[in-house]
Symmetry: C2
Subunit: 290 residues, 2 copies
């Protein structure tokens, strides 16, 4: 049974509202994680927690991981259902006027449990487009999942066509970095290639799982590269990935020209490896049993 | 008498809290204005309103200016005091999970009235430093006062020294763009120069007033230029400006080397022109009498 409506807590209080002085609201001064809930567990929680901790370290927000985990699992218990999506936002908390942070930072923890995402086209694949909106280069903010997301909002506002599931984003120099809400991977000359994210983009949890674990299991060499649209045109297989949707084969790229791709053998192998990973509940995936 | 404590309204309701699903909180999906209140008026409101309207147009947020103005002046009346600072935040309102905007956008309007800023060093001048944090280049977001402000938060976190009032921000290419919360202007060869903001930075209301009105009144030619640190080292006079503090002479620049500047005659003339502008209550400055 999926979670049928949303439940939200602020600092552990279900149904609470947010301070209008929260710096998440004023400046996007915080971070978030969006995680899949399967069988009452958040199987990739340890990876989400690691990225969140890294983001808090970079922004100087004192994260209390144990407290957040308690709020998270309390709310999942209240929501009471097996499958869905949980989104966590951690901010620098309330502050006065001005960019300067308060001497005593008391982070805000917002947890929201949503119904499971719509069924996705895992077997038939999706169509993606190329967005006009570019990603600015900012090494200090690259990789982490911070709350400054106007570029993604503007990119996602470029299309309404329900047949297009994702949009690819390039940086100012024209390199393809990611999709609006997922990471991009291609198979090229039999190896797995994915864009370098050191100056822009979000280093996704599913991307990390594939790079560090699943690729080796299916015998794929991985290379993190600079990637142009031309590289994607020429690719043998293309897919996007994130924590919620897993691995989405791309079967059509709509740009100045339209390119078709098969749902290829390597993509299928990775999908199978991911399904096994979830079944096994291995160390990287060990969620907390409620 | 200055405003002695803060008053806040959300969508016109004083003391209301914010929806934890607000997209301002989730993505920084909105804009803000910080305005000075003088003698129960917001003298530069029309300029703030114009910038806010332009920002909303660029982000696709349907601004109801009349509604916002009503909330603003209602709250000023409740706060009941003559001088202070009012900060307005307008966001795309509440939304579900994901970057895609809701079909029906109902913006959130947060208004907050704060006590007057601390007395500033208008006559003696301030010291500024050069920040390590760089501004990313993003023409789609440059100029407007959106809520994605992590670059400014990180820059302002670089120093604690109370003797340093502001920090200069460069873009990735090394051009100086602005200070963390104010715009930068220099006098060079007898003309007023200020950085081009077409790829980064916030086009300040005070900057606009100076460029469009005050500079001509004191006989200064204005040029919008690319500006390096070397240009600032060589400048005859340097000042920063914003709506709250007006025109702040810079008397010391702390970088690899320390440079001293006088509070020069052009800066003083502009300060006088600004004071006259406030006294006159001319068309650009016509606030609404409560």
């Amino acid at each position: 049974m999926s979670i049928s409506r949303s439940f939200i807590s602020i600092n552990g209080v279900v149904g609470a509202q947010l301070s209008p002085l929260d710096r998440g609201f004023a400046y996007g001064d915080g971070l978030f994680e969006t995680c899949r809930v399967i069988a009452h567990q958040v199987p990739l929680w340890h990876l989400h927690e690691e990225r969140l901790a890294e983001g808090c370290r970079r922004l100087g927000i004192p994260l209390d991981s144990a407290r957040l985990k308690r709020y998270l699992f309390d709310l999942l218990q209240i929501a009471g259902q097996a499958d869905g999506v949980v989104k966590v936002i951690v901010t620098r908390g309330a502050g006065g006027r001005g960019y300067r942070q308060p001497e005593l930072i008391e982070p805000s923890y917002r947890v929201a449990v949503f119904p499971a995402a719509e069924p996705t086209a895992h077997s038939s694949g999706i169509a993606v487009r190329v967005c006009q909106q570019r990603l600015a280069l900012n090494p200090a903010l690259a990789g982490i999942k911070h709350l400054n997301r106007l570029e993604q909002v503007l990119a996602r506002a470029e299309w309404q066509d329900e047949q297009i599931a994702e949009g690819l984003l390039r940086d100012a120099a024209g390199n393809v970095i990611e999709a609006t809400a997922s990471n991009l991977m291609i198979i090229c000359q039999g190896e797995l290639r994915t864009p370098d994210l050191s100056c822009a983009g979000v280093a996704g949890v599913m991307r990390r799982l594939i790079i560090e674990r699943l690729a080796a299991r299916v015998g794929l060499r991985v290379r993190v590269v600079s990637m142009t649209l031309e590289d994607i045109y020429q690719a043998e297989e293309v897919f996007v990935c994130n924590s919620i949707n897993g691995i989405w084969p791309v079967v059509k790229l709509v740009d100045e020209k339209t390119v078709a791709y098969p749902v290829g053998p390597h993509t299928l192998s990775l999908q199978n490896a991911l399904a096994e990973e979830y079944l096994q509940g291995s160390d990287l995936l060990a969620g907390e049993q409620l």
